[in-house]
Symmetry: C2
Subunit: 258 residues, 2 copies
């Protein structure tokens, strides 16, 4: 496959269209909100509706494509061969419900387990990071290049609040070394920030749809990611995710496993 | 004094003008960055320059006004009688330096120790909350009313990461009860969010210029604030600040002092 400009533009178009639907829903509708695994694990009708909307676009584009997504029972794929789309229809559902901002629509395209394209759109901020290893990485049409290789003590680190409270993997020490800790409740927001040089590292407990779309982009830029032990992410169950500049990633990996 | 529309518009104009200078500096200049009390307590030439710019506007408007501000040795006022302006030229200097967003220009007008007007401008988001108890509270020209009185377990809480790491005042229990914890590194951002119903509470260690401008606005709306023991904030030294909806404020106060 060649990740042509036409193909990237088509996929961006799906996501912009999905964003318009979501923005309309914020203006016009009463959201239907349900809980999933626990009281803070929310899903709305717009999460499900957006995943269906994107799935239809994908299958019209390629009826043979497989789809993995956060909602609608599509959260596992045993076989990652061929063309696989991984969707998070609304990343940061809690923010969508309680802030009406700081949420992202995200989509990744993998082929035979290799990340080809990633799309992370912060809808209300209108900041869209997209591209891939062959295509290059862009933010709102402007090329993005590898940010400065700042060390952990030179930048901000995005952390998960439950992990920080429990000091899982020594994240409190990591936060203390960093210039500051940020918690946004949105993996897409953190990975855009990492790509744009506004974070030196990000650690959280994430599912494939949380990290795959941004992950394709940060790896394409030359930033590092893995699970917290340094192993390759499996695109299967939830894992503790670590990403950063080369320097900050190495420092976090060492601290987390010390 | 009557806080006329003309006067509010004039003060908004100073802040918009200061914001233009700051945005120009992000495009054109190499920031001069120094540390103050410790390695993460930053000040840039733009903090100092912006405070001077606003101070000149204030003294041209009222040569008898007193000024308290974060920078330039203006950080204490023994006598709060008469007309006092309290300025934070760049609230969230770390974000200004490392993110080039998520910082606010803030200004409060007090008369004889009573908050009359507050201005909190999130420059890059272009979200401007302003007004006062007599004038009403507005966001970008639209009237803002008291948000729903959500309980702590119904919303997001903004917390300071050092307090959260050290579990000062049981903020970890507070975070566990809330729907989620957010850390932004910017008091103004958190207080706009509280006023707009995107937070139920906010706890941090703050100086007068951090809380006075937003504080005037959240009290004008009918939200609650005090220091963490429930005592009136002193507009003097740094204090642990608590603000929230009535319900979440009371819950935090009880948990913090239990």
């Amino acid at each position: 496959m060649t990740e042509t400009k036409q193909m990237v533009e088509e996929m961006k178009g799906w996501i912009y269209a999905a964003a318009e639907r979501i923005k309309m829903s914020l203006k016009n509708e009463q959201l239907e909100i349900e809980t999933k695994s626990n009281r803070t694990d929310l899903v709305t009708d717009m999460d499900k509706d957006t995943q269906n909307f994107l799935s239809k676009k994908i299958l019209a584009f390629d009826p043979t494509a497989k789809i993995m997504g956060e909602e609608n029972g599509k959260d596992h794929l045993a076989d990652l061969s061929g063309r696989v789309f991984i969707i998070d229809p609304i990343d940061g559902t809690m923010n969508f419900v309680l802030e009406a901002e700081n949420f992202c629509i995200m989509m990744a395209l993998y082929e035979d387990g290799i990340g080809k394209l990633g799309f992370v759109y912060d809808v209300m901020k209108d900041e869209f990071l997209y591209g891939g290893p062959a295509y290059g990485v862009y933010c709102n049409g402007e090329p993005v290049s590898l940010p400065e290789n700042k060390s952990l003590d030179q930048g901000l680190v995005g952390l998960n609040h439950v992990m920080y409270r429990k000091d899982d993997y020594h994240v409190q020490a990591i936060g203390e070394i960093a210039m500051g800790v940020r918690m946004s409740g949105c993996a897409g927001y953190e990975l855009i920030n990492l790509a744009m040089g506004r974070r030196v590292a990000y650690i959280s407990r994430l599912a494939p749809w949380d990290y795959a779309p941004g992950g394709v982009l940060i790896e394409a830029l030359g930033l590092k990611m893995s699970n917290i032990t340094g192993a390759k992410l499996q695109l299967a169950d939830r894992e503790v995710f670590l990403a950063g500049t080369v320097a900050a990633y190495e420092a976090c990996l060492q601290l987390a496993n010390s």
